[in-house]
């Protein structure tokens, strides 16, 4: 093997100079569709020209055959306005200052110095809506603010620039159905109140002159200016959702644009069936991975103090002692930050199941998203060389964040999308984060070792906000029971058929807590009960199989309570005394004759 001592030597070997290749300025002008007055001063070799022509023919054929290409071929253009220029006009100083101040306050902030561009301004519902655009590293973002309507703040939607370059359609939705303010009407039993205005926005290519947007209530007028679009619906009905988006060219050409619907209430959009492309099996089995720099306590990234993160307030696993923590940013130009920490749990104060020792905790912060977890350090990579979590900040955002931690065995990672696209995943200091278009699930994350062998595969079956399997038939869900907790928390029990004809149930509390699902008939467990804490009240909730008429709850105090079953669902409030004593120990399923037909032990509540 040759010895390479310096970075310069390595780069010199990597790509040798191009000194012998002729120039081709005339070819540049031809491609730019500008006639050259002067004769070309030199000629490209014939082989090269042929290659270029073959490429051009293939490219044109590809454009003509693909739906996207079809749009581009019809002259709707691409997103170069957003990639290489700055549509709109600079934001006012006050708008820029407001953005900078808000950005400064968040941990997962964009880099300093971003310049907002105002692209659309409109008045609606007594408020002024302003849509701003900005590029941040590898992302393009639109931010919608409103003045004159009391609301919780701006809505920001982003897309990776790579998505713009791949240009699958001449328009790209960045945020659907952002709600601003509230209408002065009574809320639903679950506490839902329709917003004063609902807005959908995104970007368009140069050749798009209009955007047709259809919601669940019908078409909505859409403004198209400065390579962006904005639709604002005033006083929308509760649950209004954008259903279709169509880009329209100057000559009336219409191109359908894929969108990922935002969920409403308890139900998300139906997951798309399909199998993600890419490797399904590993070529090399990796076990017992670790993160060397973490074990050696190297000062990668920033300390929590340097990053301005109050680690004691937000660190996980408060039962243990924080031994080490670093804040990492796999993509310096993004708003995503990770906190990796080592927490030691002494044997004298073990966690449930007797767990103690060193734990690796990871938290990820991104715009509107935060979360994490801990696992024993020694076993962290026992199931594979990387782990993955997916999250979406708001239901209207079009991109999910797939992120996680990878062991030292992983040299690089790739994302395979349902469309066949392959995306390199930013990976640095053993943490990674990549945006996945919600319209492009199912997707697959693949990890490679330094020899390029596949060592890890994680399938992401569907959009994290979508429901797989049968969904409740929304029009046929009936309220079969209402329940009130000891402190007044109200809840409802709904049952009804699914779209596949099976039985669904949903238990919803006014503060948003609840649960439910749809199970094929005959597959319901005899007893599937749990204790749900809504914050101020606790309830025993769950389902039972056919043939169970009532439930007897047995408490450690010796107290026994018989609870009714309504259409296979249980929702029963606990008294403060029952809750503080740790909840029920056992549930006994009883048939109509009072005979025991099943039994379930509960995990005890903390006392």
């Amino acid at each position: 093997m040759s010895k390479v001592d310096t970075v310069g030597e390595a780069l010199a070997l990597f790509v040798t100079p191009f000194d012998d290749e002729p120039e081709a300025w005339a070819d540049v002008l031809r491609r730019a569709s500008i006639a050259s007055d002067a004769a070309p001063r030199s000629r490209v070799r014939r082989r090269r020209r042929l290659a270029a022509l073959v490429f051009a023919a293939v490219a044109l054929l590809t454009l003509a055959l693909s739906p996207v290409g079809g749009a581009l071929a019809r002259g709707l253009g691409d997103f170069s306005a957003w990639l290489t220029a700055n549509p709109g006009e600079p934001a006012s100083e006050s708008d820029q200052r407001a953005f900078d101040a808000e950005n400064e306050r968040t941990w997962a902030r964009f880099p300093d110095g971003l310049q907002l561009r105002r692209v659309i301004v409109t008045e609606a519902a007594g408020g002024t809506f302003e849509l701003f655009g900005f590029r941040s590293g590898y992302s393009l973002c639109l931010r919608l603010t409103v003045e004159g309507i009391p609301s919780e703040g701006a809505s920001t939607g982003c897309a990776p620039l790579s998505e713009l370059r791949r240009a699958e359609a001449p328009a790209l939705a960045l945020y659907l159905d952002a709600g601003f303010g509230h209408q002065d009407v009574p809320g639903t039993e679950e506490g839902y109140v329709p917003p004063r205005a609902s807005a959908t926005f995104g970007i368009v290519a140069d050749g798009v002159s209009a955007v047709a947007l259809r919601t669940s209530e019908g078409p909505v007028e859409t403004i198209v200016e400065n390579n962006a679009f904005l639709a604002v619906t005033v006083d929308p009905p509760l649950g209004l959702r954008t259903k279709e988006l169509t880009a329209i060219g100057e000559r009336g050409e219409r191109v359908s644009v894929a969108i990922a619907e935002s969920p409403f209430g308890d139900y998300g959009p139906q997951a798309k069936p399909g199998v993600a492309p890419g490797p399904r099996a590993v070529a090399r089995q990796v076990e017992g991975g670790h993160i060397g720099w973490l074990v050696r306590r190297e000062s990668r990234g920033e300390s929590p103090a340097e990053a301005g993160i109050d680690i004691e307030r937000f660190r996980l696993l408060h039962e243990g002692e924080l031994r080490f923590a670093r804040v990492l940013t796999p993509d310096l130009q993004s708003d995503r930050r990770f906190v990796l920490s080592i927490v030691h749990v002494p044997e004298s104060k073990p966690l449930p199941f007797g767990m103690s020792g060193d734990f690796l905790c990871r938290m990820v912060f991104a715009r509107d998203v935060g979360g994490g977890g801990c696992s024993p350090l020694a076993d962290y990579f026992s199931r594979g060389p990387f782990e993955v979590g997916t999250s979406v900040g708001h239901g209207g955002e079009q991109y999910a964040l797939a992120s996680g931690v990878a062991s030292d065995d992983v040299a690089r990672m790739e994302l395979y999308l349902a469309t066949g696209e392959r995306v390199a995943v930013p990976l640095a200091d053993n943490v990674y984060a990549v945006e996945v278009a919600r319209t492009k699930f199912p997707a697959r994350l693949v990890a490679y070792d330094r020899q390029g062998r596949v060592i890890g595969v994680e399938n992401m079956a569907h959009d994290p906000l979508a429901d797989s399997g049968p969904r409740p038939n929304a029009d046929k869900q009936r309220i079969v029971k209402r329940v009130v907790g000891a402190s007044g928390t109200r809840g409802t029990v709904r049952v009804g058929p699914s779209t596949a004809g099976t039985r669904c149930h949903r238990i919803s509390f006014e503060n948003g807590a609840g649960g439910g699902g749809c199970l094929p008939k005959g597959l319901e467990p005899q007893l599937s009960l749990g204790v749900l804490n809504t914050g101020s009240d606790s309830f025993v909730t769950g389902t039972v199989a056919d043939g169970t008429s009532a439930i007897e709850l047995r408490f450690p105090t010796g107290e026994r309570v018989v609870v009714e079953v309504v259409e296979g669902v249980v929702a029963h409030p606990l008294t403060p005394a029952q809750a503080t004593s740790g909840g029920p120990e056992v549930a006994i399923a009883l048939d109509s004759a009072g005979k025991e037909v099943g039994r379930q032990r509960f995990r005890r509540l903390p006392q």
């Binding site: 120039e23 170069s80 696209e421």
Partner: protein, 163 residues
């Protein structure tokens, strides 16, 4: 007030094209891992620059603006072509110097993308930090930090592969 675009002339662009073409091609080849595709990407990039020359704002040097376009054109090529040029192909050195050690290539390919781009622009194009910052749309401070990180990573990787 929005600063009006200064615009660039055809002559200015052509002058830089003729002066710096080998460097543009070398950087594009490093990004794409393919010399033929690099030739095409540079031509496409300059064609785009010619078409969009009126939008050049004049905030920085014209050459830095052109570097941004060429880098983006090469990266767009990388994503568009042949299910993209597989990183394994890059690592195997298709179209690269015949006597280069494959593991040295792999060491470069394994760097994060931004570190690779900063290295390419620094070594192959001899750009200063300001021009690199403009070309990659990052801050000058980030250029320095990224270059340092790239050097450290490369040195470590080279040490490992030549050990």
């Amino acid at each position: 007030m929005r600063k009006p675009a200064r615009g660039a002339t055809l002559d200015e662009i052509e002058s830089i094209y003729r002066t710096r073409l080998p460097d543009f091609r070398r950087v594009a080849a490093a990004i794409l891992g393919d010399r033929e595709l690099a030739l095409d990407a540079v031509q496409e990039g300059f064609a785009l620059a010619v078409r969009e020359r009126s939008s050049f704002r004049g905030d920085g040097p014209l050459e830095a603006w052109l570097w941004r376009i060429i880098v983006n054109a090469a990266r767009a090529h990388l994503r568009r072509h042949t299910a993209d040029v597989d990183m394994e192909v890059l690592a195997s050195g298709n179209g690269h110097a015949e006597n280069a050690d494959e593991q040295v290539r792999a060491a470069i390919v394994l760097l994060p993308e931004r570190q690779r781009l900063v290295l390419f622009l620094r070594y192959y194009a001899d750009l200063d930090y300001g021009a690199i910052a403009t070309a990659l749309e990052i801050s000058i401070g980030t250029v320095g930090a990224t270059l340092n990180a790239a050097h450290a990573s490369m040195s470590r990787l080279l040490e490992e592969v030549t050990r």
